[in-house]
Symmetry: C2
Subunit: 137 residues, 2 copies
Amino acid sequence: MNVNEAIDLLKDKGYKTTGKRKDILNFFEKADGYRTAKDLLQHLEATYEGISFDTVYRNLHLYDEVGILETTELNGEKHFRLNCTHHHHHHFICNACGTTKEIAVCPMDEVRQALGNYDIEGHKFEIYGLCPSCQSA
Amino acid sequence: MNVNEAIDLLKDKGYKTTGKRKDILNFFEKADGYRTAKDLLQHLEATYEGISFDTVYRNLHLYDEVGILETTELNGEKHFRLNCTHHHHHHFICNACGTTKEIAVCPMDEVRQALGNYDIEGHKFEIYGLCPSCQSA
DNA sequence: CCATCATACCGTAATGATTACGATTTGTAA
DNA sequence: TTACAAATCGTAATCATTACGGTATGATGG
């Protein structure tokens, strides 16, 4: 998912494309990793003084709902990143900068066999640590 | 980890063994799955009227710190269960009742190979769904 | 280009989980 | 049994998130 795809998606669904909405998309495109509502708020405050919590959270939820963003919970705080739409995969997440790296490995086939009579609704597989550039810093 | 091991561990480390602390251990032994601070508070209020938040959270953190409990975050709320001390494994977690089932599968060997120059500090692998008894209910 | 109106946004208050803290109580070891 | 550190209480504070009435604004049809 990139900025243009996201804008088209919003228009298709009848949502308005405001300056703030575009800026939010650009923020996440540049981020290339997980960011919090607060990160986004701080970024937007530079351009839009007095921007409301409501605007930030409303748009994050909207983007999550329509599939522009994906979300995970780290240290008691929701984190968001642009949705990876292609194939199923998981992420390494850098504890220092939030950058992610895709991991192709997914063991759910084996797990499904081991859980015969359980109704599986979802799963979460994440690897945490330091990316190469944060190790040297 | 069972109740007696936990009590011994507390004594070894110089912590006091109060009635509330024992009750907390019994609560988790009977639970056999993830529970929230609120779940525990409600349980304790039946016995100790006017018990404080502080007591509940302080002990949960203490138990987490010394390894009596393990913790995970579900739906924005911390959940706790008795620590499984034997071998490394992951959990299926029932979305309805919090009961857990061990999963032996862990793909971290493959992942480590795929992440050569990344410093891996931890990982999380959880499967969510409905356990057999919650499916029929 | 302009009017209209639903949607988006602001300002701020409310909620829910968690943490913090001074005062009081209570295990525990001597 | 005493003394003291640790545990607990009562309550206030914090932090992320959600909610809402009133105002502003993007998009569409004329």
